[in-house]
């Protein structure tokens, strides 16, 4: 009985160790464009935190809204105060799974097309989304890239009629994150 207990404990510990092996990044790059004939607006966030957990085939993001950098002060102010309301909703998060992806590939060098499904929270509104991207496995590194569109109105972000034709109906979101293996 005691032996069984020891075996269980050892297995328990090793299972924990395995799930503790994950790929992390704290300097991921997410940027967006709003393109209209009148104006192109872009902002970059180079402090995105993200984790890939191979054991669970899972991926999570944490994006601090205030870390988006604009060229002009006024745009940054409007983005934070009028649209994203970053004092009320300081973070945007995503938590989801790789769909139809063999987690064994996380250990095999190569470039893979992937599909991710999960919950995206922006401006306090959570939506289930499914997006495509690529991941490139290079030894202990993973480079993940994706590009997709988001409609501000879907997340309860109201854009006044006065500036409506200066802000695109679809924001182009770009993701470029280099993960390193962490034990």
């Amino acid at each position: 009985m005691k032996v069984l207990l020891y075996i269980l404990i050892i297995f328990g510990i090793s299972a924990n160790l395995f799930s503790a092996e994950r790929f992390i990044s704290k300097n991921g790059h997410i940027w967006f464009y709003s393109k209209t004939p009148l104006e192109v607006i872009e902002a970059h966030n180079n402090q995105v935190a993200s984790v890939i957990d191979p054991a669970k085939n899972a991926i999570a993001f944490n994006v601090i809204i205030k870390s988006f950098k604009f060229e002009r002060a006024l745009m940054e102010e409007h983005f934070n105060e009028n649209y994203m309301e970053s004092e009320k909703f300081p973070k945007s998060t995503f938590s989801g799974q790789f769909v139809g992806f063999d987690p064994a590939n996380f250990k095999k060098d190569g470039k893979y097309n992937v599909s991710i499904e999960g919950n995206l929270t922006i401006h306090g509104v959570t939506k289930k989304i499914k997006q495509n991207g690529t991941i490139e496995v290079k030894g202990n590194q993973i480079i993940a890239k994706s590009k997709f569109n988001i409609k501000p109105e879907d997340y309860g972000i109201a854009i006044p009629a006065l500036v409506r034709d200066k802000i695109a109906a679809n924001m182009e979101i770009n993701v470029d994150i280099t993960y390193t293996l962490s034990n």
């Binding site: 704290k26 300097n27 180079n46 935190a49 984790v51 870390s67 950098k69 002009r72 970053s86 004092e87």
Partner: protein, 149 residues
């Protein structure tokens, strides 16, 4: 006489339009504040800023993030990280063994100064505080930062 009055009025109106347009353009194109080189609004040690976020994130966000103040912190340099975009981030802790930290990305003009820094030494930085997260480590995030000493 009336003609002269009209001329003056037109001149004043034009001047007013020109000045407002100038102010408008100035405000519209004004670049973001140079946090790394501006005088500090608030100064404290690393543990104070971290504990304020851990005790009440909503309040700390109001005080240090939404205020757009230049925040100056002093602590011990734990890590120097080279980011993919060519910038450098510093991890500051209160005591060498602490895991809770401030992660500050330097303004690129401070890259050369960062190369001379010693891990484990005392450091003071200032910059823009953008928030708190604990997805990987428990950390307060700063950007647009400069090295004070």
């Amino acid at each position: 006489m009336a003609k002269k009055k009209t001329k003056i009025i037109i001149f004043v109106v034009l001047l007013f339009i020109l000045i407002s347009a100038g102010i408008g353009l100035f405000m519209f194109y004004q670049p973001v504040k140079d946090y790394a080189n501006s005088g500090a609004d608030i100064s404290m040690n690393v543990s104070k800023l971290i504990s304020e976020f851990q005790n009440n994130e909503v309040e700390a966000n109001k005080k240090y993030v939404s205020s757009n103040d230049v925040i100056q912190v002093n602590g011990i340099l734990k890590e120097i990280i080279n980011n993919p975009d060519g910038s450098i981030s510093l991890s500051l802790v209160e005591k060498p063994d602490d895991s809770d930290k401030i992660s500050a990305t330097l303004d690129k003009t401070f890259n050369s100064k960062a190369k001379g820094l010693q891990i484990g030494s005392k450091i003071t930085i200032k910059g823009q505080c953008t928030g708190y997260q604990e997805l990987i480590d428990k950390e307060v995030i700063m950007i647009r930062a400069g090295i004070v000493e």
